[in-house]
Amino acid sequence: MSTASLIHPVAPATNFAHSLRIYSKETKYEFFKLLRAKSFSLAVIGFPVMLYIIFGLVNRHAQEGKVHVAKYILGGYACFGLVGAALFGIGVGLASERTAGWLELKRASPMPPMAYLFAKCITAVAFGIIIVSVLITLAVTMGGVSLSAGELVRMLGMTIVGAIAFASMGLLLALVVPANAASGIINLIYLPMSFMSGLWVPIQFLPHWLQRIAPALPTYHLAQLMQNIFGYADAASMASHWTGLAGFTILMLGASWLIFHRSQQSA
């Protein structure tokens, strides 16, 4: 080997095909990694499905005014499921990879950092779609729920939007919580937040003081956007819910960026 070939840096191979290959492989393996981790995949898919069977399917004939209860609950558990996949997949996954030193080894490689975040985000979307699809299948086949093609498409679209929004919260949590406490802390946030936003029990049935807190929660806005697909949303305007969800996402990403940069500077 000549000295010259050692001293001159090679041209950065940033061609598009190479980047595409990195992004697709990173995403593929992130997805299989989580799918095969039974403690993750069984819990995030099984939990909302089991709860929907218990609380949704028993209400197959229940009607509250013009609201079909099993369909309303489908919207709630769809949100519950996709939020769980994003928070646990990214929050716990990234925190443990950071603590184990795995992320550092990847950072020492020429992997583009965006590929890592992209893979985590798309995987959260994929799990969201799996969970929502299973719930829809249960609702339609056993819950007496009728969905139009338009409603189905809009539900899946909202699943993608919601998964990306809560991926940003997963990212922030991964940066601030210690890995060994991550799943406990995330449960402490995720479960009360889901309850108070009306994901389990329709928000109208919650105490009034809880209903007043709900607009401060991102899950509430996501749930209202989801219920709006069925015409079940409450009186507030959809624009306010879109603003709430977008504002939350920007806040999470901004805080993550700030924390990441501060840690880079002290490193």
Binding site: P9, T14, H18, I22, K33, R36, A100, G101, E104, A267
Partner: protein, 315 residues
């Protein structure tokens, strides 16, 4: 350059150092200081790595070894001073494409197979090493299809070594590479590291095992408290640290022996006298002149461990 020549690797004494000193260094730390708050991890440290050499960074826990490694990998930035690899910033993606790293990673994602880990890591590099080459060099035969969770500690280390080779790197940085390996696996890895260096690749390793530095490195850099304490070939380090031990039967007076130049200690060990001296040849010559009846002469090099302890405890 592909790693095809490895099959012809033969055991080579560590001291047969390639003529590299005259060449341009491919990686340098120039007067680097790294502070974390009030603690100083590195204190004006400079080092240079040349093509084809194996350099061992040796030092007690907290000496700054890992900090130096992470600076060269562009994972942290220096408080003052500069790190340079292949003439540019270590954080440059083109630089990273030519560098392979093996860090102390507690756990890789456990639900991926060894071949999947390799497939993913190879995709990061513009000119990756063929999979079968990685499998052969890192000795991953037979565990290629296993999940990471199914591997033993030594096998996990070999996978990490394999990941460091994925990009066919010119600079390979190994942080405690043989932790958790049995002796046989360790020697196997040493052999692979030597053959990488024979192909002109540069290897920097940190280690706790003095035996490892002794057997493998062309050059040892001993650091303590963020500073270089000593630097040289393994034999230079040994002689510098504690001197050599001269053991013999002699009638010479112990007090007289203590006055000889470069003698650091004189002890009586049953019938024999043990003299520790930096310049053993001169001391022996003098002793033989003074005592014609001197017998049972032995001169021993200290273990690297003794030198290392002497070097790092004086501060």
């Amino acid at each position: 350059m592909p790693l095809t020549a490895i099959a012809f690797e033969t055991e080579r004494p560590a001291t047969s150092r390639p003529a590299v000193a005259q060449q341009q260094p491919i990686a340098t730390l120039a007067n680097v200081t790294k502070r974390y708050g009030a603690t100083t991890a590195l204190d004006g440290l400079s080092l240079a790595l040349h093509p084809g050499e194996i350099v061992a960074l040796l030092g007690p826990n907290g000496a700054g070894k890992s900090t130096a490694v992470r600076l060269l990998l562009g994972l942290i930035s220096a408080s003052t001073g500069a790190a340079s690899v292949f003439g540019s910033d270590p954080r440059n993606p083109a630089t990273r494409s030519r560098t392979g790293a093996m860090l102390q990673v507690a756990r890789l994602p456990e639900t991926l197979r060894v071949r999947e880990h390799l497939d993913l890591f190879r995709s990061y590099y513009p000119h990756p090493l063929p999979v079968q080459e990685i499998v052969r060099i890192a000795q991953l035969d037979g565990i290629h299809n296993r999940f990471f969770s199914q591997l033993s500690g030594g096998q996990k280390q070999r996978v990490l070594f394999g990941l460091a080779l994925c990009g066919d790197p010119d600079l390979i940085v190994l942080d405690e590479p043989t932790v958790g390996m049995d002796i046989e696996a360790r020697r196997g890895l040493w052999q692979q590291i030597r053959s990488l260096a024979n192909q002109g690749k540069t290897v920097l390793l940190t280690t706790h095992y003095l035996e490892e530095a002794d057997a493998l490195a062309h050059r040892i850099i001993v650091i303590n408290e963020g500073r270089i304490v000593s630097e040289g070939t393994p034999s230079e380090i040994k002689s510098r640290g504690a001197g050599r031990k001269i053991s013999c039967r002699t009638d010479l007076d112990i007090e007289y022996l203590r006055t000889l130049p470069s003698v650091t200690s004189v002890e009586r060990n049953r019938d024999a006298v043990v003299v520790t001296a930096g310049n053993a040849e001169d001391v022996v010559r003098e002793m033989l002149l003074q005592d014609a009846a001197l017998s049972d002469l032995e001169i021993a090099s200290p273990a690297l461990e003794d030198a290392f302890l002497a070097l790092t405890s004086t501060r």
